[in-house]
């Protein structure tokens, strides 16, 4: 294949046509410019990816209209014709020269327009990317009561702009590289140059460079390729739809990755502490947030433990409960034909099914699924005596608390673990649950996210110093003068003062 441009425009066009054979969306517009000496030119772009109005108005239109160019004679000026076109004729903002075929084809595929000129072995690449996209809307999975309502879209440029608007600092670096041999997906790495821990940045770039795959469909695919432990049910990289969450993370020294065609940005390193925070935590008052953060820890415990505790207590240790409750429990289960473990597994599985079908089907049918599942199955199952009413309550509590975990994937990890714990409880009762928890704790403790302990700020390393005031609870912003230390940022101070600092009491 021809690797660089030749002087003959016909040959160049032929090569490009060959490459794009059977691609109905390629447009090659051949024109001739000049009155005395007609020069062949060609504008090449992909229909739909490039902004047609923009090209026809400011490139082709100006080429035709420019008086000097019409009278222009080719002899003696051959080499500078490209420069004249670029500097004096066309009115586009992004223009650069290129001669390598591979890069030219790449540019066409990315939505840029290529202008070939006869007798010149270089061409102009005109930035004309513009395709239909979803407008910026409210993030679907992370809504807030108080706080900005913008969410990322599928377009990389829009997404980086949303972040840039929040960080007007030259230290915000946005590096773009293409990953995927065929998909050539643009992947942007965002970080604050003077805050980020360079060791983590280098490690990330190395992991990204090692990826050799044909396509990256979504940021979640990229996530699975750069994770520390891909076998774990827990995500070691946080994902978010919110530009304000990305900006806040960048300020605390973390790194964000935005992948083209994906509305979910990746944040790393992620820890137990960060995955249990929502962006609303930054906007609400400290007392409320502190309360909610403690509540989330309880939610984690309830998600993992409640069904297995039910199984263990009914099957092995009814004596743990007060006598009255034990009688009540026994009475409510008197018609239930199954052992507790079957009852629990049955209901938990039903609920997972309901959740899954409810997520896939939205709109009116989804509502029907909810009503049929929630009301009818629950009510009917109890009346038919298949499950006890207490079991229904426990299933409901489990599900509700699993959705109280702000990060969806993190919640899924715990939801899966509860099935393991139900199995443990059915074999060894409370002791089995404890063994299951030991394995869970061991697993969490062993996990790292880019060299940062996953259990931070409960890992006991010095990087956790003072972190509890912004993870377990949230102290008022006046007390949070330092950035979170788990990434070991270069610049540690976040706040230098407020109005009370200068005054004496």
């Amino acid at each position: 294949m021809q690797e660089i441009l030749l002087k003959s425009i016909d040959k160049n066009i032929e090569t490009i046509e060959k490459l794009f054979a059977n691609c109905y969306d390629i447009i090659i517009r051949k024109i001739e410019v000049g009155d005395i000496n007609r020069v062949k030119m060609a504008a090449i772009y992909i229909d739909g990816l490039a902004d047609k109005d923009h090209i026809s108005k400011f490139t082709i239109g100006y080429l035709f209209a420019e008086e000097e160019l019409k009278k222009f004679t080719l002899k003696g000026f051959q080499n500078s014709l490209l420069e004249i076109v670029s500097k004096e004729v066309i009115a586009n903002t992004e223009v650069k020269e290129e001669y390598k075929m591979e890069k030219i084809v790449n540019a066409i595929l990315s939505g840029d327009t290529v202008l070939l000129i006869d007798n010149i072995d270089r061409c102009l690449i005109i930035g004309s990317r513009g395709w239909p996209s979803r407008s910026i809307g409210e993030p679907e999975t992370e809504t807030v009561i108080r706080g900005p309502r913008e969410g990322f879209t599928e377009v990389l440029k829009v997404n980086t702009t949303l972040v840039r608007r929040r960080i007007k600092d030259t230290n915000l670096k946005i590096e773009v590289k293409q990953i995927g041999r065929r998909s050539k997906t643009d992947v942007a790495i965002l970080y604050m140059d003077d805050i980020v821990n360079k060791a983590i940045l280098i490690e990330l770039k190395e992991r990204l460079n090692k990826i050799n795959i044909d396509s990256i469909a979504d940021s979640s695919v990229l996530e699975s390729f750069i994770e520390d432990n891909f076998l774990s049910p827990f995500p070691q990289i946080e994902s978010t739809e919110r530009p304000d969450a990305v900006a806040a993370s960048l300020y605390s020294g973390r790194i964000a990755i935005i992948v083209d065609n994906s509305p979910f940005a990746l944040l790393l390193p992620a820890t137990f502490g960060t995955l249990l925070q929502s962006s609303e935590d930054h906007y609400s008052r400290w007392a409320e947030v502190s309360f909610i953060r403690l509540l989330r820890l309880i939610a984690v415990a309830l998600t993992v433990l409640s069904p297995s505790l039910y199984v263990a207590i009914t099957a092995y240790h009814p004596g743990l409960l007060p006598t009255v409750l034990t009688y009540y429990l026994a009475a409510s289960r008197i018609n239930v034909p199954f052992p507790a473990v079957v009852e629990a597994a049955l209901m938990e599985l039903t609920l997972e099914l309901l959740r899954e079908s409810g997520t896939r089907i939205s709109g009116p049918i989804g509502t029907t699924v909810g009503i049929v599942g929630g009301l009818i199955i629950g009510q009917a199952a109890v009346e038919a005596g298949i499950v006890s009413p207490l079991m229904i309550i426990i299933v409901a509590v489990t599900t509700i608390s699993s959705f109280a975990i702000p990060n969806y994937d993190f919640g899924v990890g715990f939801r899966l673990w509860r099935f393991i714990l139900i199995a443990c409880a059915s074999i060894l009762g409370l002791y089995g649950i404890m063994l299951g928890i030991i394995v869970l704790i061991t697993h969490l403790i062993r996990l790292n996210s880019f060299g940062v302990p996953y259990t931070s700020p409960y890992s006991g390393l010095d990087i956790d110093g003072g972190a509890l005031r912004d993870t377990l609870i949230k102290a008022p912003a006046q007390y949070l003068r330092k950035r979170p230390a788990f990434t070991n940022p270069q610049n540690k101070i976040r706040m230098r003062g407020y109005w009370k600092d200068g005054r004496r009491k």
Binding site: L428, L430, Y431, N448
Partner: protein, 364 residues
């Protein structure tokens, strides 16, 4: 990054506490009360103070040979063969110690939680579960210890708060009445309940801030002394010395007395037993890791993870040798103490003094 295998001083403190507090805490008040009566707390504190010089010697060894781990120092000071014999004793000690721990755990769980489950199942499942963490490096053990450490503290504080209204501190009196010739007998019991600080031999070389090692370890020891003394005084004040002598598991009985306001959970002892499994886990994890390390040093390999699973059946078989709980104390319990004396008292002192002698001579 780059410091993946480093311990912070907080983790070292937590290691000392969570490794020491284990199976002993359930029976200690009873055994001390039998030996020393009302003055048991004196023996607990005294034997705790006896541990201080041992920890100081351990710290000194690593100060004397900075940037070397225990095994390199041992080989350098004692010579390869003598040190290997020590290591074999060390290994046997860890095996017997772990067997003792898991057998105790199994028997307690069988007695209080799962009456009909065979103790073999309880033991082997626990050993296998702990083998998961033991394959990792000391940093992970430290993280686990730091994770369990607040649970231990909050458990003791919780116990103290709920039991406080029900106790009668006149039961502690009279003080200084018992026969002082029986103090050594009590010290023997109490001294070995502090076992666990030998993990420092493996942990201290990996400390991030070596100058804080001594302070962190001694703070940990102080917390253990405090916990043991507090538990003893609570059980003594609650039951009085005569009743305490007849309670085999006074700490558990104490928990049984707790009536939570609101009556949601009636018998806390079951929950406490479950919780206590976590505490034993942190003890066991450290010893399991250490035994793997010792074995890998004996075979001169770098990765200790290989040796973890083969250790499991050995521990399992040895733990089943004693016929019942009563013979457990006389067999495994006693051997643990003898071997422990050699490994954690004799060995550090021998290495320290020979090392001191050698470095002095070199300096001349």
């Amino acid at each position: 990054m780059g410091e993946e295998n480093k311990l912070s001083s907080k983790q070292i403190r937590a290691l000392v506490v969570s490794t020491a507090v284990g199976i002993g805490i359930l029976t200690l008040p009873n055994r001390i009360a039998i030996a020393n009566g009302n003055d048991g707390w004196i023996t607990i504190i005294l034997s705790g103070l006896l541990v201080i010089p041992i920890i100081m010697v351990m710290d000194r060894i690593f100060k004397m040979y900075p940037n070397k781990d225990f095994f390199t120092i041992g080989r350098e000071v004692l010579g390869k063969w003598v040190f290997n014999i020590f290591l074999i004793i060390f290994f046997i000690y860890f095996i017997v110690l772990m067997s003792n721990i898991v057998r105790n755990l199994g028997e307690f769980i069988k007695a209080f939680l799962l009456e009909t489950t065979p103790v073999e199942v309880l033991i082997i499942s626990f050993v296998l579960v702990t083998s998961y963490i033991a394959r990792d490096n000391i940093q992970i053990i430290g993280r686990a210890a730091y994770f369990i450490y607040p649970l231990i503290l909050s458990f003791v504080i919780f116990l103290f708060l709920v039991i406080l209204p029900e106790i009668d501190f006149t039961n502690v009196l009279p003080v200084f009445q018992s026969d002082f010739s029986k103090i050594p007998k009590g010290i023997e019991i109490a001294f070995f309940s502090y076992i666990g600080y030998e993990i420092l031999l493996f942990a201290l070389p990996y400390a991030e801030k070596k100058e804080d090692n001594l302070r962190a370890s001694l703070t940990g020891l102080g917390i253990v002394i405090l916990i043991y003394t507090l538990i003893f005084l609570l059980t003594l004040a609650k039951y009085g010395v005569h009743s305490l002598r007849r309670q085999t598991f006074p700490t558990l009985s104490l928990v049984k007395e707790v009536d939570l306001p609101g009556y949601f959970i009636e018998n806390l002892d079951g929950l406490v037993m479950a919780f206590w499994v976590l505490i034993v886990f942190s003890t066991m994890a450290a010893f399991y890791y250490a035994s793997g390390i010792v074995l890998s040093q004996l075979f001169n390999t770098k990765d200790h993870g290989l040796f973890i699973l083969p250790i499991a059946p050995i521990v399992y078989i040895i733990s089943l040798i004693p016929r019942n709980v009563i013979t457990l104390y006389d067999s495994l319990g006693r051997y643990t103490n003898y071997l422990g004396f050699v490994t954690i008292v004799v060995m550090p002192f021998v290495i320290y003094f020979i090392g001191l002698f050698k470095t002095r001579r070199q300096n001349k």
